[in-house]
């Protein structure tokens, strides 16, 4: 690796061009390892003999250029850049005996291994795809004769199935109300929750019905439940001193108004 120390700024014009082409085409890369692999080709050596230091420099300049061109790089490209910067410093500085962890050479060797392995997988993929393939180079039977399946189905059930089935039907009514009717019940809690934020604006007498929740007024069952809950909630709010309530006569509309504390101080 020592001879790589002096290669800074020694990129040929062709290499610079290649690096620039990389920038323009950053979308086409399958991640930082892919960029590194592409960059490594400029070294024109066996991947086993690659100069990781030089590669790190190339990558860092790639990232710098992307930055100056304001190309958004995905986070993993930047993580790789940070790691390579770290690796570069490890490779350049004399090893510090007090420092823990792997040496720069070990890290570089691993990166070289990763690149070589990725390249090997690419080559393997290419060889695989170039094989004779079913449906392209060789063929299966065109007129497959289906196996006639002579299937006799017999159905079965046990006495227990039968009894459980019957039990299921006969007990269904017992608990239907719990499941079925809940969605037509509007609770006082729900009504309270709905009314509390609204009453602050009720300076004038307003009809109770205007506090009814949406979607609860068409179906009579739901309307009944919602009306009762809204009415109960109104009484609760009156009790708490937030509302005033009035009804001019029997069956007349019930009206609500915010209780004005200045006008009518609480007792």
């Amino acid at each position: 690796m020592a001879d790589n120390l002096f290669q800074e700024d020694s990129m040929s014009v062709a290499e610079r061009m290649a690096a620039e082409a990389l920038i323009v085409d950053v979308d086409g890369f399958e991640g930082p390892l892919d960029v590194l692999l592409t960059l490594s080709r400029t070294q024109k050596v066996d991947l086993r003999k690659i100069s990781v230091l030089q590669l790190a420099k190339q990558y860092l300049s790639f990232v710098d250029k992307a930055k100056t061109l304001r190309i958004e790089l995905a986070a993993d490209y930047l993580v790789m850049a940070a790691w390579l910067a770290f690796l570069k410093s490890r490779l350049l500085l004399p090893p510090d005996p007090t420092e823990e962890g792997p040496s720069g050479e070990e890290l570089a060797a691993h990166l070289a291994f990763q690149l070589e392995r990725l390249q090997a997988m690419r080559d393997a993929a290419a060889r695989l795809m170039a094989r004779d393939r079913l449906g392209r180079d060789f063929f299966a039977r065109g007129q497959a004769e289906d196996i006639a399946r002579i299937r006799t189905v017999t159905y079965t059930a046990t006495l227990l199935d039968l009894m459980q089935g019957y039990a299921r039907i006969r007990t269904r009514d017992d608990f239907r109300p719990f499941v079925m009717d809940r969605d037509s019940v509007f609770t006082m809690e729900q009504a309270l929750e709905r009314m509390r934020p609204m009453i602050g604006f009720a300076g004038n007498w307003t009809d109770l019905t205007s506090y009814m929740p949406e979607g609860w007024t068409a179906d009579p069952v739901r309307r009944r439940s919602a009306t009762a809950a809204t009415f109960a909630a109104s009484l609760e709010l009156v009790k708490e001193g937030h509302l005033e309530i009035r009804q001019s006569e029997i069956f007349a509309p019930i009206q609500l108004r915010k209780k004005d504390r200045k006008r009518e101080p609480r007792d």
Binding site: F139, R141, R149, Y155, L160, D161, G165, Y166, D174, F175
Partner: protein, 221 residues
């Protein structure tokens, strides 16, 4: 044998040897989804091939084998030898669980017979599909009873001797009533105590011996 026919003056290359032509015909007949005519074959093969001759040879080669080259109309195909047809069939007896709808319908018929379709629907709370009843009829677990003496004189359903056989019952009266089902833990889906809001509460008790109320009518015919 004249695989090097030079009758066609245009042919720049010799046709492949007959052995090759035979291989080609074999591969095409194998892979194509439809029987192929001599013309189809020659259209695919290199110029100057004699598919008819190759077919004659191929046919001979397959004589007595597991598959044969046969003529279908004016086209050719490879087909299983007729004596091996038995290999292409697979007999399976499949045992399936009766569907939930069928079990419920069957249970209602057993407990309430003779019962009309309308009654079954009322008890199940959903309509009973034709297929469900047909299936039970076909299995011979259920048959038609006599018509009910109510308006429209609807048909009724009752269970059969085969049904009793299958379930090991001497007669439908042996079916356990609701009380027993509950004692056996088959009715554990009870509502939590004290939480029967809308009137239906008493229903369970009343229902209890409905099964047996229906029973005396069994097999009256």
């Amino acid at each position: 044998m004249s695989q090097e026919t030079e009758t066609d003056a245009d042919s720049l290359f010799d046709a492949p040897p007959m052995g090759e032509q035979e291989r080609m015909v074999e591969a095409v007949l194998f892979a194509s989804a439809e029987p192929a005519t001599v013309r189809d074959l020659e259209a695919r093969m290199p110029h100057g091939c004699d598919a008819a001759e190759a077919l004659v040879r191929l046919r001979k080669r397959y004589e007595g084998r597991g598959v044969r080259v046969i003529k279908v109309g004016d086209a050719w195909a490879i087909r299983t030898a007729p004596d091996l047809g038995f290999l292409m069939q697979k007999e399976t007896v499949e045992t399936r669980k009766l569907s939930r709808a069928a079990i419920e319908t069957l249970a209602i018929i057993a407990y309430h017979q003779p019962v009309t379709r309308a009654e079954i629907e009322e008890i199940r709370g959903v309509s009973v599909s034709r297929g469900t009843v047909d299936q039970l009829l076909e299995m011979e677990w259920v048959r038609l009873g006599r018509r009910k003496m109510t308006p429209g004189r609807p048909v009724t359903f009752v269970v059969t001797g085969e049904f009793l056989d299958h379930f090991g019952l001497e007669n439908a009266r042996d079916l356990p009533g609701l009380k027993e089902l509950r004692a056996a833990g088959l009715l554990e889906n009870r509502p939590p105590p004290g939480a029967v809001p809308f009137g239906s509460g008493g229903g369970a008790e009343e229902d209890e011996d409905e099964g047996s109320i229906g029973q005396p009518e069994l097999f009256e015919e």
